[in-house]
Amino acid sequence: MSGHMEITLNGQTKNIPGNASLQALAEQYTKEPTRVVAELDGAIITRDAWSRTILKAGSKVELVSFVGGG
């Protein structure tokens, strides 16, 4: 049974279950994964790969989406 681990998400430290997938993480924070883009340790992860992308301790994740702008 894996314990919890620390990762960075959008610059904030988060405690998540060990072996969590990127998909699971994203679902925690957005209702619309289709509108969100994910970056893991500087590399863009396409949505079809989220489920099989397993996070490690210290992973740096960025979840970005569109907002208003000029």
């Binding site: 998400l9 959008n10 610059g11 904030q12 924070y29 957005t30 209702k31 619309e32 509108r35 969100v36 883009v37 970056e39 863009i44 396409t46 960025e62 979840l63 970005v64 989406s65 569109f66 907002v67 208003g68 702008g69 000029g70």
Partner: protein, 264 residues
Amino acid sequence: MPPIAHQTAQDSFELGGKIFSSRFLLGTGKFRNKGELKASILSSNARIVTVALRRIDLERHDENILEYIPDGVTLLTNTSGARTADEAIRIARLARASGQGDWIKVEVINDSKYLLPDNEETIKATKALTAEGFIVLPYISPDLYVARRLVEAGATAIMPLGSFIGSNMGLRTREFIQVLINEIRVPMIVDAGIGAPSHACEAMEIGAAAVLVNTAVAIADNPPMMAKAFAQAVEAGRAAYLSGLPAKRPQGEASSPLTGFLFE
């Protein structure tokens, strides 16, 4: 200087291989609520809107802005937040990964006082992004040499600023924009500082291909009505340009006749 060209029967706005029915571009920032944004897009018939990319808010599950942008409107993602070419490139790649398109407004600003763009970093980012197949519209302080380099770098259009972002000061850079319109073969889309429909009209009168407005619409008392006014001003200015505005003549100096000798 007026163009040595003849009027075309039909004025179509072509950009990046697509034809757009409006030369009015709308920015989506600073709106009080997203309903006003949607209404403004509809009332003005803007066919291209700019959006930005930000980290999602982890505490609140905001509604996504894309819900409020009608289908068929082209998204022009700006690289706002980027302070260097590398950051702009990164944002562009993220935008592309969203599947919403390849249109990027390169905006590289490392100046929080005036929000002036870094022309040099913009050139670097443009070169890299066009090589990766993006449709790039760089935002710059109007400079002829920079514009030429951007054309060489493959920019689809150029977005010279009219005045400082958010200032609503109008076309302070008018003469310099005129130089770019005269000398550069890609469309000029005047951006930043357009504070009133008359400014937008003026930009079109001098030959700009299109105009981008954000603040003046978003903070108006009635954004959808203001957006429509801007769209109408853009049309009027374009028609004036195509009709051939009379040039202003300098006054002659009082002196003895220059051509009297021909009639003696």
